[in-house]
């Protein structure tokens, strides 16, 4: 793929609101046609700002945004033809649902009959055919959300931006809508740039996820890669649950680092960003990858664990223990028939494969 094949391209984009701090620092992001890309990150990390620059409501301080092979820095929002779903829906309160949907078609001077037909089809797409004459205030949150969604799609844009569209909905409805958005995306083949700070939402919906922090993309990868192979400690901590252990690198061998933990125990870990011995390192292990009392064949090594707390969660048991000096070390023990029951206060051996434990360089 050459750079021109990308549908959207952020090229060294910077943004500052006050001329002092950079809210977005050197953003490079390529999005393919028909892709579902999610921007995920903590509050204030610049996600909305990026979306606003793409939609044309904010101008980049530096750099270039390319859409369909054309730089769009100087194109006003209404000529970009980019659909947008706002967090609070922004349905026009003085127009009925049908009028809201007709609005983008009317401003494009589409004929009356074609407009009516498209509005009808859009309503049917979200199973809301009989709601055309209602005002937005007469709809539930989920229904408003659906209308906002189809309003952004009714004029057939090639790119749709969504800024935390499900933020105001309850958990169940959110999951239902995630499925529906995903479904519509597949059906229409539009490119979607989606913003959320809910990681499970990002993981279930996206083709690729851009993890934002502090105005920089920390990692851009598929959900799978992001979860399994975080490239730095921020991503490892931000995505999913992680146990952290501090130590010092002893030796590096074939991409595997031998690390001495702060309490003196020795473990092996996959060297992700550690490059030389004698440097401090942060190890990160997923709770479900830790094995209790492993038979020595599977795990590279075992270390001591002291059980503090057990929480029964049905399909698994959540166990808090001290491992390698970390008192908040969590292990998820599958609730399998052949697993021995743990007891609080008990000392056990825990282990993991070197590949499941990722070592990052720290700046100490």
């Amino acid at each position: 793929m050459t750079t021109d094949d990308f549908h959207v391209r952020f090229n060294r984009v910077q943004k500052s609101y006050d001329g002092v701090t950079l809210v977005v620092k050197d953003l490079n992001l390529n999005i393919g046609k028909g892709e579902f890309v999610t921007m995920l990150g903590p509050s204030g990390s610049g996600k909305t700002t990026c979306l606003m620059m793409l939609a044309g409501f904010e101008a980049p301080t530096q750099g270039e945004i390319v859409f369909n092979g054309r730089p769009i820095n100087n194109i006003p929002p209404h000529k970009r033809g980019i659909g947008m779903v706002f967090q609070n829906y922004a349905l026009f309160p003085h127009m009925t649902v049908a009028e809201n949907l007709a609005f983008p078609l009317q401003v494009r001077r589409m004929s009356k009959s074609e407009t009516a037909q498209k509005v009808r089809r859009a309503l049917d797409m979200v199973q809301m055919g009989e709601f055309g004459d209602r005002y937005p205030a007469q709809l539930s949150g989920g229904q408003q959300q659906r209308i906002a969604l189809v309003r952004a799609l009714v004029f057939d844009p090639e790119l749709v931006l969504m800024d935390e569209p499900l933020g105001a909905l309850d958990k169940q409805l959110r999951e239902k809508m995630q499925y529906e958005i995903r479904h519509i995306h597949e059906q229409l083949g539009v490119t979607v740039v989606y913003v959320t700070h809910d990681q499970s939402e990002a993981l279930t919906m996206s083709d690729r996820i851009a993890v934002f922090n502090d105005g920089v993309i920390q990692q851009l990868a598929s959900p799978n890669d992001l979860y399994e192979r975080p490239e730095n400690s921020f991503v490892a901590q931000f995505i999913g649950e992680n146990n952290e252990l501090n130590g010092t690198v002893v030796s590096l061998n074939d991409g595997i680092a031998q690390v001495t933990l702060d309490n003196g125990e020795q473990v092996f870990a996959l060297a992700v960003t550690v490059e030389e011995p004698d440097k401090p390192a942060l190890l990160s292990i997923r709770p479900e990858r830790v094995v209790i009392n492993p038979d020595e064949t599977g795990a590279a090594h075992t270390i001591e664990g002291h059980v503090h707390e057990l929480i029964y969660l049905g399909d698994h048991i959540r166990c808090r223990m001290t491992v390698g000096g970390n008192e908040q070390f969590i292990v998820k023990v599958p609730n399998a028939a052949n697993n021995r029951r743990l007891v609080v206060g008990e000392h056990v051996r825990v282990g993991w494969t070197a590949e499941d434990c990722r070592a990052f360089a720290t700046l100490q």
């Binding site: 006003p76 209404h78 033809g81 659909g83 706002f86 003085h94 401003v107 494009r108 952004a152």
Partner: protein, 410 residues
């Protein structure tokens, strides 16, 4: 069962007790306000209504006639008792100088009554004993004209509609029918129309000037917004009189505006900007502008920017987005501001009186005119009633529609 029912009534009693206490508190807190409203608002308005139809003065001046004339059926001429009572009343009222007042009032209905009463009053003491009917008719043959007696019968009732009718250019004709006054005497309907016209024009001017100001205030930075707000509220800190008089200074023939226009060569003769309709529009618009800007601003502050952004992202140019998405959402503010300005303008008196010409005076001016110059409280009250009815009906018709109760100032 029984126990449950008992505790049920108990509960209800407890609830009633707490509700009653709340009610007493509420009444206690609002009583002062209510008293003030009663004394300074409802009582005067009630008195005004009463004054506009009150006719008891006439019955005090001609008490015997008032009683006697009730027996008359209104056909032809009344009998001897009415004539006798009239003679007795005139004998009493003429020296007391109240007869002229009655005459003036009756002249309202039938021209000639004033002179008839004065002439008869002067001569009535020279009349001999009864019967008086023939004697009076001999004294002045108008006493033999049934029209005068009909007017008298109507004029001696407890209440009268003549003032309210007069305020709408209507009167009773000789046959007790309500008819319009001749065109050359009709003035009040055109004054009411003029009052509405000036108020509407001022409302429109306020809207056209106030909308951009409110919009700018709603979108400006907090600092600019505060400065604008102070400038706007400055108007409230100077007295109405001072503001109006300063417009005279600014707009007169040798005033600031005319000197600027002359020296810049835009005009060759000074313009007439004051003591005419233009002056009224300028001064009233200036005085009433804040009442338009504040509700508009308050509504605009509540419109989040994402609506216009959404419209833009859907393909609307900024102008289309403004017209189709922004302005409709300011409707409540436009309605409330317009209604407040319009209703206040309807009652304006000082400003048009000072900066307007004779053809620019509004209804209130004539209320004051009848109080101060004619000392005719009845006519003043009747015009006041017209103004109140006018204002009230505009409020009722449009106030509901614009949801004026939803608007908070500031």
């Amino acid at each position: 069962m029984v126990e449950q029912a008992a505790s049920g009534t108990n509960l209800r009693k407890k609830l009633q007790r707490t509700v009653r206490r709340k009610k007493i508190e509420a009444v206690g807190l609002t009583t002062p306000l209510f008293c003030v409203m009663l004394i300074f608002y409802f009582v005067p308005i009630g008195l005004m209504f009463y004054r506009s139809i009150d006719n008891s003065q006439m019955r005090e001046i001609l008490p015997a006639t008032a009683k006697a004339i009730q027996q008359w059926d209104g056909e032809g001429l009344p009998g001897e008792p009415a004539y006798a009572a009239m003679v007795a009343d005139m004998k009493h009222a003429y020296p007391n100088r109240t007869l002229a007042r009655a005459g003036r009032r009756l002249n309202f209905d039938l021209v000639g009554f004033y002179s008839l009463l004065l002439k008869s009053g002067r001569k009535v003491s020279r009349l001999g004993g009864p019967p008086y009917k023939a004697a009076l008719i001999k004294l002045d043959k108008k006493w033999g004209d049934p029209r005068y007696w009909k007017v008298l019968k109507r004029g001696l009732k407890n209440t009268t509609l003549i003032y309210l009718l007069a305020a709408l250019d209507f009167r009773y004709n000789d046959n007790n029918r309500i008819v319009g006054v001749p065109d050359n005497q009709a003035i009040y309907r055109s004054i009411i129309a003029r009052t509405i016209y000036i108020s509407l024009s001022v409302t429109l001017l306020c809207l056209v000037i106030g909308f951009p100001i409110a919009y700018y205030m709603a979108t400006a930075t907090p600092r600019t917004r505060n400065i604008l707000m102070i400038l706007l509220l400055l108007v409230f800190w100077t007295s109405l009189l001072v503001r109006t008089l300063s417009w005279i200074v600014v707009l007169q023939k040798k005033g600031v505006v005319n000197s600027l226009l002359l020296s810049s060569g835009l005009v060759s003769h000074p313009l007439n900007l004051v003591f005419n309709r233009i002056g009224v529009y300028i001064a009233m618009t200036h005085v009433l502008l804040p009442f338009m800007v504040l509700p508009l601003y308050s509504v605009m502050r509540g419109i989040p920017p994402h609506y216009v952004r959404a419209a833009r992202s859907l393909g609307a140019t900024s102008i289309v987005a403004f017209i189709r998405v922004y302005i409709p959402q300011t409707k409540a503010g436009i309605g409330a501001g317009s209604l407040i300005v319009f209703i206040q303008a309807l009652g304006y008196y000082i400003t048009p009186a000072l900066v307007g010409g004779p053809k620019d005076q509004m209804l209130s001016y004539f209320v004051a005119f009848f109080v101060n110059e004619r000392v005719n409280w009845s006519m003043a009250s009747a015009l006041g009633v017209m103004l109140l009815v006018l204002t009230g009906s505009f409020y009722l018709i449009f106030g509901r529609r614009v949801g004026i109760t939803n608007i908070k100032l500031g």
